[in-house]
Each structure stands twice: as C-alpha cells, then as structure tokens.
C-alpha cells in the first residue's frame, strides 16, 4: 500500500475553508469521475462512509448487493459497459476479503474498478481488532495499485489518483483502504489540479518508425491475419480496426474478449480463435505469414501450443503494456502505444491486396469445417439453440453476459456480435458466478439495450443470492439458465480426459423457476423446444426481470476443442 504521508502534493484550500469529512471526499471523487452507482454492503468500519452516501443519495445510487463478490462483479460490468470506472465498497475484514476474487478478475481482464474498503480505526490497526484484516497486504498482487489512507488530508489526492490510475493506460483495479476514523475526520484539502505520478506514463501513439516497419511487413504479407483483442474495445479503436481490415483486405479473428470488436457477420470475420474457437480461425493461425496482434496478450487459451501458432509468421504486436510484448511470442515489430492512436498512424500506410490464394484457402476451410452448425436433436433442446433463440428474438441487439464454462463458449460462438461492448465474459480469471452480478452492473450502467445473462446452473448457484437484489432494485435483466444438471465443462473434461470417471460433476438442482418466484421474480421453466422458444419470447417482451430455467441436453459438449498442449491439427470437431 502507499503511504499517505509521502509527497506534499495535497492542496490546502485556505480560501474557502470548506471542511469536508473523509466520507464526503470519497463521494465527491466518485461524482467527479462521472460515476453514479456504487455497489456494496455496509459494516462497522464503513458506516461513516454510508452516512456520507446517505447525504449524497440524490446523486449517487447505492445498490445493496447480497454478497460483496457481487459488488465487485457488478462494478466490473458497469465499467465494461460504459468505459467509466466501476465502484464497489465493503466493510473491513470479511467484507473486504470477499472482494479479493473481484480484484483478481479485474486485474486479469484489465477492467478499471475502484474498491473502497473500510478499515478499523487508526489506533486499532495492528492490534488484531474485531474485523481487522491486512487487506492492503492481501490485495497487492491482485491490484494495479492500492492505498491505505492514514491522513484525511491525503484523501482528496488519493481518490483522484485512484480513479485516474484505474482508467488510464491498461486499466485495472485500484484499492483504497480507509480507516473508520479517517472517514469521519474533516479536511480542507482538495486534490491537486495535476497529479504528480512520476514514472507512470500514459500511452500515446506508437513509435513512427516502428509503425512504418509494421506497414512494410503487413503490405508484404501474402497471408496476414489480424488478431483482435480486448484492447480494441478498451481504447475505442473498433473503427480503426474496421478500416485496417477493409483497407488492407485482411481477415480478422478475435479473442474471447475481442468478440464484437469487428462485426462478426462481415465476410472478413473468421470468428473467435482459441481452445473452443472455430476450427478455421485456428487453422488460419497455423498457416498465416503475418500475425497482427492488436490489444491482445496472446493468452494461452487463445494461442494453444506456441510452436504451432504462426510458426512461419512475422509478428506485429501493438499493445499498451510493454510487458505483454515479447512475453509469449517472439515479436518482429513490437509497438507500445495506445491502439487507436497507433492504428490512426498505421492506416494511411496500408495498401490493398487481393490475397486471392489466402482467401480461397480460408473459405475452403470455412466451407468444410462448419464449426457453428447445430446438430439435429429430436429428444432434447441443445444449449446452442437457446443462444440462437436469444439472438433471433433480440435481433442481435442485446448485450450478453456469459458465466464460465460451456455456457460461456456457446454464448460466444452462437450469437453474432456486431459491435464492441455487446458480449461480456470473465475470460482471464474465469470465476463462476460472474454473470448474474456483472449483468446487473451492465444493465444499471446503460438501460438502452436488453441485457441477457447466460449462465450455467452451477455458476448461477454461486451468486444466486443476487436474485434478491434484482427484485429489490427492479433491474430489468433476462436470466437464461442453461440447466444441464451438471458442472458441464467439468463433465466434458472428465468424459474426454478421464475416461468418463465423473467426480463432482453432477448437480442436484433446485427448481430454479420456483426459487426465482420465491425471490419475487418472474420465473419460468421450460423443457421442450416450444416451451423454450415461447419462454424466451415472453422474457423479451416482459418489462422486468425474468428468470428462465431452461432444461437442456445434459451431456452436450462444446466443439470444436483443441486439447491443451496439442496443436490445431488435432482439433476435436463435432462427430455428428
């Protein structure tokens, strides 16, 4: 954690002499950051902050979640939907430790969230006081930065820094731990106009000479491919990505978090790559002679076996984080910079090429390996059909928040995302229980679009208490449970790699529609295709939260699948 007695950049506002309590300082900083919702649960150490939230309730909406983990995931959804910073708060001790998974999740997925935790009063720190935890000690490895504020005069500067660090450069979680008495004390200090963060460089356009070199490499390539990552969305570079692909006539594949940064129905789109990516997207990565990695960290789930990933390819990598460049792949043209600004610089240098042979190869793979065909299933509804039905009913214009497991892959595969910020999923950490709270955050951040939470039965159960928040706050979410009575992804791995020795894979589920009803939500169960379709249509038309318990095939697998440690050549495709 950062000391707060460091540099004396605090501004004492002697003219106005307006004294604000620590709690008010935090609320003002939240408003200044343009944030209007705080997710949290109060407790002893944070009660003075809640007293400030009481005073600010006309300007800041506090959403009481039913488990702090939901506060962090909801703040993550809020941040990802808006590009603003999300805010989650808890008390000291157990409240704060409940947020740790969320911090780790934001860190992996580069999402800007400010965590405000209460701490025991200063005189009690270090005494093993009731609900005292060294939470800044715990949060160091899972945050971009953290502070323990020991002097209320530091708080205005710290809050301003926290929001700035969370949202700038490669975004990430920032943790501010505030002792109870610091919330209460008053200060006349205000934050400095400009922050003194020496050594923290905010990115600009990539180096011109390297950009020129990148253009040469791309223009000379016969079989280039763009790999679009989350960075496209974060830097707001979807337009520039589109221009690069169409101007250069370059096919695009996306990572799980890059889904939607390039319109998926466009002929140049070859879908998502990776372990459960489309077969032809992965084949393309094996044969390309130039990988253009944009805002991606070449995650192992996307790349698979490094030796078979573009073995003959030159690598052009543009990313905001220098530490990502060269971390996984040897890079021919390493460019550190903001993606949008860098692509602006690159675009005029890109020439159009036919690349006839390359496209005919890609199209023949796409024709032969029909990764997205859904097999006939007379007995049961397949989970893929559910995702398709949501796509149809929403006209593709809904936001989809997927949980973790098979449902996540089907939601990514079987819906065609045309814009960034339409599909959300916790790809890096992969915490089950993400989807429901995150979807609440997405919906509260932006009410203009329908929001569908697509979740497995197992993942739903991890944060099912949030049905209570949904009902209490009247958040208009559509929850589609792909109920396969299993921890589906676990069952699939045990089928494939442990010769069907199923251990801890079966779920003895409650009647989710009845559970939803008991929470005061509109809950509907469906078993047949007709019931499923009409339930989805009803949910679409209904003005309010709906929970659909959709009983789908219990043993359906996600295809294609590249077995970890093997290359694209040994991809397992749907045998049907």
């Amino acid at each position: 954690m950062s000391s707060t007695n460091g540099r004396s950049t605090n501004v004492v506002n002697t003219d106005s002499q307006i004294a604000r309590s620590g709690g008010d300082v935090v609320c003002d900083a939240i408003l200044e950051a343009g944030v209007d919702v705080v997710f949290g649960m109060p407790g002893g150490a944070s009660l003075p902050f809640y007293d400030a939230l009481y005073r600010y309730q006309d300007r800041i909406r506090h959403v009481l979640i039913r488990h702090e983990q939901a506060a962090g995931f909801a703040a993550n959804g809020y941040a990802r939907a808006t590009g603003k910073v999300g805010v989650a708060t808890s008390t000291s001790g157990p409240g704060a430790t409940n947020l740790v998974t969320c911090m780790a999740n934001d860190m992996m997925d580069s999402v800007g969230v400010v965590y405000i935790t209460g701490q025991v009063a200063r005189p009690a720190i270090g005494s093993d006081a009731f609900q005292e935890t060294d939470i800044t000690g715990i949060s160091i490895p899972v945050t971009k930065h953290s502070y323990l504020v020991l002097d209320v005069d530091d708080l205005p500067r710290v809050m301003k820094e926290a929001f700035y660090i969370a949202s700038s450069g490669r975004p990430g979680p920032v943790h501010v731990d505030i002792p109870k008495d610091v919330f209460v004390e008053t200060t006349t200090c205000t934050a400095p106009q400009s922050l003194d963060l020496r050594g923290y460089i905010t990115p600009t356009a990539g180096d011109a000479a390297l950009v020129a070199r990148a253009a040469e490499v791309i223009n000379a390539a016969d079989r280039p491919i763009i790999m679009a990552g989350h960075g496209i969305d974060i830097s707001g570079a979807a337009e520039q990505l589109f221009a690069l692909a169409t101007r250069g006539n370059i096919p695009v594949v996306s990572t799980l978090h890059g889904v939607g940064t390039f319109p998926e129905t466009h002929p140049l789109s070859f879908g998502m790559l990776g372990m459960h990516g489309l077969a032809y997207a992965n084949f393309a990565m094996g044969k390309t002679d130039c990988i253009i990695g944009l805002g991606t960290r070449f995650d192992d789930r996307a790349v698979g076996k490094v030796e078979e990933f573009g073995p003959d390819a030159k690598v052009v990598h543009i990313d905001v984080d220098p530490a990502e460049i060269g971390k996984v792949l040897a890079t021919d043209v390493p460019i550190v910079g903001d993606l949008k600004m860098t692509l602006e610089r690159l675009l005029p240098l890109i020439n159009h090429h036919d690349r006839k042979a390359w496209f005919s190869q890609l199209d023949s793979w796409r024709g032969r390996h029909r990764s997205l065909d859904i097999p006939e299933s007379p007995e049961s509804v397949l989970p893929q059909e559910v995702v398709r039905a949501i796509y149809e009913v929403s006209g593709g214009d809904a936001r989809v928040i997927a949980d973790v497991g098979q449902n996540q892959m089907w939601a990514a595969q079987h819906f065609w995302y045309e814009k960034p910020r339409m599909f959300f999923s916790a790809g890096g950490l992969g915490p089950m229980g993400y989807a429901l709270p995150a979807a609440m955050g997405v919906k509260l951040a932006d009410d203009r679009r329908d929001v569908w939470c697509v979740t497995g039965d197992g993942g739903l159960l991890i944060n099912i208490q949030e049905f209570n928040t949904l009902a209490a706050e009247g958040i208009n979410l559509k929850v589609a449970i792909l109920n396969n009575a299993h921890l589906g992804m676990i069952r699939q791995w045990q089928e494939f790699f442990y010769e069907g020795r199923y251990m801890g894979a079966y779920l003895d589920n409650p009647d989710f529609a009845a559970v939803a009803k008991s929470f005061g939500l509109h809950g509907v169960g469906a078993t047949t295709r007709e019931e499923m379709n009409s339930a989805i249509e009803m949910a679409h038309a209904h003005d309010g939260p709906v929970v659909l318990d959709l009983h789908v095939d219990q043993v359906e697998n996600v295809y294609p699948m590249i077995v970890p440690g093997t290359g694209v050549a040994s991809v397992i495709e749907d045998p049907r």
Binding site: S2, S3, L148, R198, G199
Partner: protein, 171 residues
Amino acid sequence: MSEPQVHTLVATVQDHPGVLTRVASLFRRRGFNIASLAVGHSEEPGYSRMTIAVEGSADEVSQCEKQLYKLIEVDSVRNLTGTAAIICELALIKIRVSARSDELDKVTRNHGGEIVDRSESSMIVQMPGDQKRVDQFLDVISGHPDAWLIEEISRTGAIAMARGSTHGRNG
C-alpha cells in the same frame, strides 16, 4: 534464449512503506529469482534507490524490468549488467581465532579489508568490494592452514551505480 546469469537492476522508487512489499511480491509471484536486494535513500528526498541482483536469462530479466516498471511507485529501472558500472557490497565476517592474529591481519589487508573489532577469541573483518572479492576472501579464510573458523557472515548485497555523470540522463 540466452544463458541465465545474474543481472544488476537499479530502481528509483518512491520512499513509501509498502514499496518493498510490492517489489518482493512481484518477484515472488512471477518466479523471478532475487540473489540480493539492497535499498536506501537516494540523492532526492522522497525517493529510495534499490539495487536488485536477479538471476535469469536476458529475456526473463527484461520481462522483470518491464513488470517492475508497471508498479506505480517505481520511477525508473536500469539494467546495469554489461555496462560500465560500479557494483559492490560490504560484508562483515566474524572469525574465531586462537593465537597468531597477525596473520589474519595480513590476509585481511591484502584483500582490502579492515579489522573493525577484536576480542580475546574473535575478530570482525569488514570487507568491501565486488562479490568476487568477498567470495575469494571467504575462500582464503576457510581454506587457511590455521583453521580459522568463520562464526558469522553478514553481507549487504550488491549496490550499483553507472560510471560517468548522470547529468542529462534519465534515472
């Protein structure tokens, strides 16, 4: 991949409690191997200077530098390995002696050290210099026919500084 070797990194960091924890945590979680770490005040109030000797290939250490740089409180990082730099440390060595301490006096002086404490049965040698010199001295002591016994060793770990003026150069 180049051969693993010890690299010497010099970082200027904000003088905050917790900075050391952050750096140590980073090294541990990314599996970087710290050979030694020394930290103290720098010429600028509010900033400390850390010298970190880290073992690894050039690629690993380059990743380590980049990761260090991502810490908000790290102002600059330089890898002084293979550059013109002074790299040295200080060791205190307590040696049990019986009689003939003149011989130890001589050996110590020959290696550029100094005897800073004498008691009836032991002496403390203060030995500055690069790691190699300190190691050599320790070898001589333990291999000496007089069977001197090393009772205690305390080493600071390396500190380092680039040669030439800092003026006009960052960090």
